[in-house]
């Protein structure tokens, strides 16, 4: 798996299909921008998330930012180890630093996400 297998939001969240589920996290660009990650708050399994709306929050350098869901659906699994070990996110944002797995409602809005190429252009322009 690599960043090229993912689709993206402009706000630097990635989504990757894994069987019937969609795995969600934030990109290396977001991690670099935020720097010095301190806290993360993720939803519990069973919570419904909506594409483009907040599913969690993260604090870095005294700044609290919302994490936006790339897809619409139900959270079925959460990376429980992340809150106690944010190094996972800093060192491996596309693998060990995954945040939630979502069972999408239909395609969950997958077709509206940015391709890796389009996200790279957004990120190069400064993105959000």
């Amino acid at each position: 798996m690599s960043a090229k297998d993912c689709k993206y939001l402009e706000s630097h969240e990635w989504a990757r299909r894994d069987g019937d589920l969609v795995v969600v996290g934030i990109t290396d660009v977001a991690v670099e921008q935020l720097s010095d990650l301190v806290f993360v708050d993720l939803p519990n399994p069973g919570v419904l998330v909506t594409q483009g709306e907040a599913f969690g929050e993260i604090e870095s350098v005294k700044a609290v930012s919302e994490l936006l869901s790339p897809v619409t659906g139900e959270v079925v699994e959460v990376n429980e180890e992340l809150a106690d070990d944010l190094d996972r996110l800093a060192k491996s944002p596309f693998e060990d630093g995954w945040m939630i797995k979502v069972r999408p409602d239909g395609d969950g809005g997958w077709s509206e996400l940015l391709s890796a190429e389009d996200y790279a252009k957004v990120a190069a322009e400064g993105g959000h």
Binding site: Q33, L34, S35, D36, V38, F39, D41, A54, E57, E59, S60, V61, K62, A63, V64, S65, E66, G126, H128
Partner: protein, 229 residues
């Protein structure tokens, strides 16, 4: 730009959040706290402050707890295009704050890197995004909230000490001149840093005030919000 009279903590934070949501305008608001209030950082554990007699509120912004007593607080709410995520956004505002304070007779600068104390109090632990006096005592602390493509920057400028408080620096003791001009001078320097100008508002627009009242009831006046962590 708004210069508000002192108000309770739940109202102050509700107004700031309403200004963050007001995507039609850029806002710079100055205010004080009455009564003196302890604000917790968004992710802090309320249990660390269980014995405190003063009112507690939970900020939408990160960082540590602050005893808001003899201070000037600012809330800057603008688009992320003006202040993108990352430590650099603090630097831009801090340079403006430092220039304003220098104009009024006080030299402040970012602290030298040092060990963290682990204290839950914001002003006990100067970090790179803060401003300290020549003795290394923190006198300006900042934090942010990012939402809706906007950023809310909170900052506290310590004017005087509180006998039993955790603050360790105070601008008045450092020779601050023309304290009543502080909001105006800060606003001018922040406007120049952002490349924008301010127009003084007489008060909150009606729809923003209504939203602030709703936010206060939903969150900042609700003990469940303050004690949620």
């Amino acid at each position: 730009m708004l210069v508000d009279p002192p108000a309770a903590g739940d109202w102050n934070l509700a107004v700031d959040e309403a200004l963050l949501e007001d995507t039609a305008r850029l806002w710079l608001r100055f205010y004080a706290w009455d009564p003196p209030t302890i604000s917790l950082g968004y992710f802090q554990a309320a249990a660390d402050f269980a014995g405190e007699a003063r009112p507690l509120v939970r900020r939408p912004t990160g960082g540590g707890a602050i005893l808001h007593a003899d201070e000037l607080t600012y809330c800057l709410a603008v688009g992320e295009d003006l202040l993108p995520p990352g430590p650099g956004s603090y630097g831009l505002v801090n340079r403006a704050l430092a220039a304003a304070l220098a104009e009024l007779g006080v030299d402040v600068s970012p602290p030298r890197p040092g060990p963290r104390s682990g204290s839950p109090w914001c002003f006990a632990d100067p970090v790179g995004i803060d401003l300290v006096d020549r003795h290394g005592r923190k006198v300006v602390g900042s934090a942010q909230r990012r939402r809706l493509g906007r950023v809310l920057c909170h900052g506290s400028l310590l004017l005087g000490r509180v006998d039993d408080g955790p603050q360790i620096g105070a601008l008045r003791e450092l020779g601050l001149r023309g304290e009543d001009r502080l909001p105006e001078v800060l606003a001018g320097r922040i406007a120049a840093a952002l490349g924008r100008g301010w127009r003084r508002a007489d008060g909150l627009p009606g729809e923003v005030a209504a939203r602030a009242r709703a936010i206060r009831a939903e969150r900042y006046a609700d003990p469940a919000w303050t004690l949620r962590r």
